[in-house]
Symmetry: C3
Subunit: 342 residues, 3 copies
């Protein structure tokens, strides 16, 4: 059998020796048998999902054992020997619920390194294992130790600047995937999946276990769990409902080549080539007049019945005030398709 | 009589000796008589609201005088003796309009340390006493001295990074109150009141003299003067009108257990258990069709007449385009209640 | 003939010697003949638009040559002699399409130093000449060199914090123009034009080649190319469509003394004294009921026909759901004006 994932990390612990965060420079999905063998030989790994605090000697041994089979990891292990910070080797035999902070950080890294896609890894229980951390200009600091550190810094004429107080750090302090622009990194959490070809503008936002699959211009908010298909753009300030906050059981997603207008929002998943007019918020319960190609009202249904369907344009008629859905299908074809899955 | 507030601070002055900002590690509301006595004895305090620049000797004397009665302040005074930065002791005998920059900073600290609630302290005249400051990675810098400092830093191969040019600093560089998460601290000003149990997400914002009173998920904007009750959530990008900008004379507030949807907005105060549908903006002048429990239109009134009432759901009918208010009251009870305060 | 622009800069290059960014402390528009003469004499400048890497000796010569005629530039040249960073003298004979990264940076500086207004300078081809850069707490870093630098920093117990991955840096790390407040500088790009008297609040945003011309409170998004006239306010989260993203060929602008409400948006240029109600998005294709002073519907037209006209109030009737435009003109005068330019 083969391992699910493996990574050498360097992290931060609080004064009690509890992990605050772990940085994995080069995480590996499905490592080779050579790596597993080295882990068994050098670290005494005997299976399961574990995060082992390692010594400089162990890193040296690991580096030697991997020298011929996995040059990159061998070099990483050697490089890590120099640090005064705690180092950890995290090994996941299988993808199951996490049991330690280093495990959770590895999973978030796998997402942001684009080794797994959103919903492609088991994130059960991560909130309880992620400590709330003060992310500062001096690195991660335990909240309980912060006030004293801030006073000390002030008295020394320095600034201890707290950029975030959160369970998740920002992604770019851990990895900047290739081929992306992220104008304001404070709005992309570790665990986001940003595909090559994606630009996240200043108003864009991407939560963990969420992101893009291809070329996208993102000026709106991609909530936890939301995936945006290739070629789709999110206009400035637009909203996608997350399953954590009001979206209910429906997992929101956006298909390919969609456009969600500025200040618009969706509470239903969109299929491919769909457009939501700027300023219009479609919730699952919104009643929608479905128009045929010749602009006749075919029927009035709840938006949730249009979830995932292709080629739809949502707008609010600016004279009648009714929310409408326009398609490029004939009325007959449309009507039969709408009821195909009812 | 007893003092209103007292604090030992360390701050920053510009090259003219004017205060740019003051950091108070442990401000005290209604200090004990022992503290007042020490201030009179050591600093020659004779009453009134004053901010006294203090020497290392004076801090030492204060520390000794408070050693038995107020250990925390005694230790703070001793710790501050080590700094090269200017130290100040600010004493407010009564809560009245401010007369100095250190006084204003003390009041903003009292709010963010949750020692007073929004609207619970006199903030008259603070804008004129708060200098506009360049908040940088090297601390507060006078705007007039900035350009030269930036060039010097560049030539030395360093970055003088200006994070904000504003009268208010961000709260978390002064205090991180317990029990909160603030995903992006640049959007919470000093003077905000963030209750334990509150999470401010990346899109959340809290101005000074505003904030939460209990458990809240805040993904929208809490304008100056706006208070959000326990159990209420603000959806992504939602807006609360501030009295400084368009809200007029009405002080906006949100009661308990309310939900303001994503990209929605309010220009009236909400009572308890109210909901505003995602994407709907209710201004004071919005005409609202009030529906009874059986969905009959009871009457059409301006939203300001619904200000502060409980158990209301605001939505825009997605077929007729009319803004409506649904309650769980019978039509008769509702109608009489609506007119009870007219 | 006289030169178009000139500036002495200090910048950052990657390990291949390619420019990542250039900082010009004191750019000059239309420099005096004395400056041109010095450039010809000291740097061998023979005309055209050029960016010359200069030595300490050349800076010294330039300083001497400018000592009597241009004290400020002379002192700047002398000050720059001390740096280990590469220095550049950029000279633009005429305002035409850019051909180098230092040229583009000079043009963006001219905008943000308010020496030229938005649309007042040739920005053709700038995207191709602006490298995508990791903007960090340690300055500009080439994306290709970032991962290794991040690992090194971690191992040394330091944080290499990536604040932005973008072609444009934030403006305030280059220049803070006088008389402004910018509460959250990460949202204002170099190349923005922020007039004295403008306050950009936390939710405000200003792209390059865009900005304000006078006193404005900006809590919304000013897209690339959008100019806001004196006395106009942009409410929280409001949107202006950019020509880069969905606005099409129409260049959006906002006249004087306008108010765009919170969470509203415009896809047409506004004239003077116009108001858009909070929460209402007007696109060019929105059908609008034009009301006369006595609230009669004069006609129903597309919003693009109202582009640039003065004294309009846009709102959505909250009972009928229709988007309406109210003016303070009589119906007859209004109707004839509407058709004057058709």
């Amino acid at each position: 059998m083969s391992l699910f994932a493996f990574a050498i990390g360097v992290g931060t612990q609080n004064s009690k020796g509890e992990w605050l965060e772990v940085f994995y420079a080069k995480p590996v999905l499905n490592p080779d048998a050579d790596i597993e063998q080295a882990l068994r030989g050098i670290l005494g790994y005997t299976g399961g999902n574990v995060a082992k605090l390692v010594t400089s000697d162990q890193l040296n041994g690991l580096s030697d054992a991997l020298a011929s089979s996995s040059t990159e990891q061998s070099e990483l292990a050697k490089t890590c020997m120099s640090t005064q910070k705690p180092c950890v080797v995290t090994i996941l035999e299988i993808d199951e619920a996490s049991t330690s902070t280093p495990e959770v950080y590895l999973k978030l890294h796998l997402l942001s390194h684009r080794l797994v896609k959103p919903h492609g890894i088991n994130l059960a229980g991560i909130f309880g294992l992620l400590p709330n951390v003060a992310w500062t200009n001096l690195g991660a600091i335990d909240i309980a130790e912060l006030a004293e550190r801030q006073l000390e810094a002030r008295l020394q004429g320095e600034l201890l600047s707290v950029n975030s107080v959160d369970k998740f750090p920002r992604m770019t302090d851990y990895v900047v995937p290739s081929g992306v622009r992220i104008a304001h990194t404070a709005r992309v959490r570790l665990g986001a999946h940003i595909a090559a070809g994606t630009t996240i503008m200043h108003e864009g936002f991407v939560n963990f276990n969420a992101g893009t699959l291809g070329t996208s211009m993102v000026e709106g908010r991609i909530s936890a769990g939301v995936v945006v298909g290739d070629g789709s753009d999110l206009g400035g300030g637009c909203s996608t409902m997350g399953t954590l906050s009001g979206g209910g059981d429906i997992v929101i997603s956006v298909g390919q080549n969609c456009l969600i207008g500025a200040n618009a929002g969706i509470g239903i998943p969109l299929g491919n080539r769909c457009t939501v007019e700027s300023g219009l918020y479609i919730t699952a319960g919104t009643k929608v007049q479905v128009l045929s190609e010749d602009k006749a009202v075919v029927e009035t249904i709840k938006a949730r019945e249009l979830a995932g369907k292709d080629d739809l344009l949502f707008r609010r008629d600016s004279v009648s005030g009714a929310v409408q859905c326009v398609t490029n299908k004939s009325a007959v074809a449309l009507n039969s398709e709408l009821h195909a899955n009812n």
